[in-house]
Amino acid sequence: MSKLTILAGFVLVGLMSTSAMADGHGNHVYGPFPVTLKGYSGDKTNSVSYSGQVGRQLLHNSLKKAIGKNAGLDTINSYFNGSDEELPILDPVSSEKFMVDHSNVNDISKTNLSGKAYKGDISGWPGGMSGKEVLASMIARSSEVDGGYDATHGYDYAQLVSKFAMGGIFYHQACDNYLDEKLEANNKPNNKPYKDGAYYTGKEHSWDEAFGYWGAAAHGATLSPEQNYNIAKKKDMVSADANSDGVVNLKSEMNYAHAYYASAFDKGGKTKYYKTITQAFIDGRQVIADAKGEALSDAERNTIMGKARVICSNWEKVIAEAVFKYAGSVYGDLEKLKGGGDAKAYRKYVKHWGELKGFALSLHTSHQNLGELGRKIDGLIKFGPVVGGVSPSQISMNTRRVDGVDEAGNFTFQDASVDEYMLYMLRLQKLMEDEFGVVAKNNDKLAGISNLAEKLGSGESVEND
């Protein structure tokens, strides 16, 4: 073999591996990525940084717990607005089976949720408020009822706040800000620090912040959906502890929020939301790192914008899958309650409705206005679930639902039909399938129809008997 052939072979292998890295095929872990900022002379070697977002993930987890355990309005608000005092992490808490490396939110990042909440109007909640006001209002009302559970109006505030915060803060910030306007050429450019004194560039940190809001473990793309799901459920310490130091690093080894829900849907085997989104984040970050601190070219920016589209369209689908799933749950709960359910069944129904509503409101908070589709979604779910006659404690009452608030801020009611609402849940599932293309379709209430249609055949027969 001539020297020339050997040299050509090396060049070819080198080119192929460079290309693979550029495509991201060679890397399935989010970081470390080198410091590329021109002129940086400090000792940092890893430019990845999203501790503020991890702090918010922990505030969100803790906020939900605080509402559920009657922590009091001041404490609950401290998780929403942030606090200079110590803020114990209420979830995840270290246990023998699942050791975590922090117990105080402020040790990771002194931050808040309220400052990042969606400021646009949310028409799907009574009162005509912005997303931030809706969350504040829900939190205030949650402290007036035991454990955030309002049986009279059918509201489970722990679920409502949690599910809407995930969308109205995390999804909104990532897809309406960091992966949207901050990808513009002149906004947070890559040849300048993100802010004065930072060791990462504008684009590097914008991308990292979006990844932090997504909530996936840095090594999550190397794991199976079951492993990622069990990490979020604090059941799989071994899979979580990527660096084998004996504790779960809450900054990089934990799954949160929508990333957790993505793994839950992926477990069914029909979807790959978690890997698709997380890998797109990794690939996009690699493109930015490969620019080596120079301003991104149009081609590079187009590439990461393409990745951003993959991320946000799949992220939206994860939320739509959740709406689909909980619409099915609410339908099933009402079926049971119609047959004479008990207080436990009613509690479950209110919980499921809270999850449904929180996820559905989240769909309104991305960079695109849902328009007519948004009105359809709100019109089917309404301001509240059907209560009254379906609740064992209010069985003598007519069935009704919240339809607004009066001047004093009290919820008002209108008559409502259980059967009609069940129909709305079916239509909502159909809407999620038709408009968002959901695939996992957990709790599909029309599955019986699809299964039978499949068995009977497609009806394409044009035979003349």
Binding site: D419, R427, L446, L452, G457
Partner: protein, 327 residues
Amino acid sequence: MPEIIELIFSDLSAQFLSPRKRLFVGYLACAFCIAVLWVCVVNRTSLKTAIAMIFAPAIWLSRSSLFDVICFLINRLLFSLLRPVLLTQITVATLVYQLLHLQVLMPIGALEHVNYWIAAATFTVFYFIFDDFSRFGVHYLMHRVPALWEFHKFHHSAETLTPLTVTRTHPIEGLMFLIRTAAVQGLTIALFVGLFGSKVDLITIYGVSIFGLIFHSLGSNLRHSHIAIRYPAALEQIFISPAQHQLHHSRDPRHYDRNFGVVLSIWDQLLGSFHPSTDEEISYGLGPAEAGFTKSVWSMYWLPFVASFRRLTRFRPRPPKGFERLR
């Protein structure tokens, strides 16, 4: 272009390789065995003679049979392309199932606690009967409504019958069959899922409805053939024999508008169109007055539109010839 070819090829192969299709090779083999047995036993012929009779070139290589093949290919191409926009049973079922939530006579899930097998058996039997009745009904209308008969003539223009004649259908008629299928399946599915919940099932063997499998395995393909298999008179009162359907294709006016049924003959008895099979020699087709209809494949596809339009608009410059079937 290759995608279209692939689509057509997969559609064509499914017609013969899927047990859900009437022309499945397994059903054709069953029909052949039954035909051999019938000819050998009833006509007391040798196996060789029976096979020669079954595969008579005068039948299989006739002009009419050639047209069957051409029409089969044209229709498969047409419906392969139309498939994405056709009404499906899922659409109908979803709509009806949703509407069921707005009525109070039949509470959703009222029979949800019924045993699985009872639910599945009820669904399977109900669907079989409803489907058979609806086929009868549509067929009845195709003969009795003049504008529809113009399209159904396409099928009755066959002068020799082979299993492929079952697909000799005008596209307009084909669309009507598709709508019928979607409506019947959709209504049945919605009704039963509404009553029994998601557990309701179709009883199948090898993925095929048990009744469909029995019907096709017992020689449904012989309905369009020259092998006149007759059932005992009592049995023909319940099930339509191949010979009874062949009589339906007769060009003899005495046999017009008889035996519209597919599996059950009870519908014909109820509507007065029942006719037992006979041992007469039967000629098929539309008759000499309609010779122009099968002048070409084009005329078969085009003339029904013209004649049907005239029927609907009563624009009849002169008395049409060859409509003697109409009552």
